[in-house]
């Protein structure tokens, strides 16, 4: 067997490794969740995307699947903050991408109001092929990171994505509702 030698950069190797081993954590909140479960059977592991993890702490990819209500938004934000860097987000379905048909007092108009979204998957619900497209698109984005954003060769973890500003969200006034009894 002939020995082959290839030369490359460390960051390219790291990106190559990363895009082939993305652990996903689905945040299933509505009917799209059922569609997402069906999608898992379409072989996302062929692209190196492992089956969904049980905890966001073990995951690199947050898949926001379904309608995000205002009441759920703090939970989604918390899940995102529990994930280690580097991390990516896919908004699965019309509701996660834009609020969908719910333009009202109860629904967040798109998961990107709460967490930074890399890839949007439209559809109500999206077809499994669309989700596979999103995974491939995300792989392209992970692999195409500019070198200066990649981890240093020494092994210290540099954030691959600019972090969100860690400012506190504006809390609404904590007064009691008008109609509340004393």
């Amino acid at each position: 067997m002939q020995l082959e030698i290839h030369t490359t950069r460390v960051d390219a190797v790291v990106a190559w490794a990363r895009k082939h081993s993305v652990e996903q954590y689905p945040f299933l909140s509505a009917c799209c969740g059922v569609e997402f479960m069906a999608t898992v059977g379409h072989g996302s592991s062929r692209f190196g995307f492992a089956l969904p993890k049980a905890s966001p702490r073990q995951a690199d990819l947050l898949v926001v699947v379904g309608t995000i209500t205002e009441r759920q938004a703090p939970a989604l934000r918390r899940v995102y903050e529990q994930m280690g860097d580097p991390k990516w987000v896919i908004a699965f379905g019309a509701c996660a991408a834009s609020g969908g048909l719910y333009q009202n007092y109860a629904v967040v108009p798109g998961a990107d109001q709460v967490v930074p979204v890399d890839v949007y998957v439209p559809g109500c619900p999206p077809r499994p092929e669309q989700f596979l497209w999103a995974l491939k698109e995300l792989r392209t984005r992970i692999g195409g990171q500019p070198a200066q954003e990649m981890p240093a060769a020494t092994g210290s973890l540099v954030r691959i994505r600019p972090h969100l500003p860690q400012r506190k969200p504006k809390a609404p006034p904590r007064k009691r509702g008008k109609g509340k009894p004393a």
Binding site: R71, P169, G179
Partner: protein
Amino acid sequence: MTVAVALHDWSSLQALLRDQGHPAVATGSSPGLVWIEVARGAWLTSAAWLHREGCATFIDLTVTDLWLPNTSPRAPGRFVVQLVLAAGGGTRVALRTRLRASELALPSVTSLWPGANWFEREAFDLYGLRVTEHPDLRRILLYAEFMGHPLRKDYEKQRRQPLVRVGPLSKLGQG
């Protein structure tokens, strides 16, 4: 006791309510539903009477805001609260009352039908119906920080009360 008996004996409720100074406002029926509209003060008396007469099953508690589009948007609305009960034999009985926005309050019927608990909380949450003597009157669908009652017609359609808003955080076009 079936609903047929209850209807047959409808006059006894009328007499009871008249004695208490709150005669029934109107009654009527449509296929599968018999309804009676009473004054606000007769709400609990009538509910207890229906419970006694065989309406053992609580079905629903609904509120309707009767705001009309031609009136001033800030005009105080009028509301219809309806308690839907099943009495066997496939017939439902609805107890209704009309309330002004300024006096949107009713006594709880949870002592008669414990299942009404969450429905009354929902009516409070979304319409601001103040249910007196309710065991646990808190918001049930919305969060405690929410101000106002969003299904009332005087709630501004565009008004949002987010708990978390740090976006839009699209990363399209990066990387």
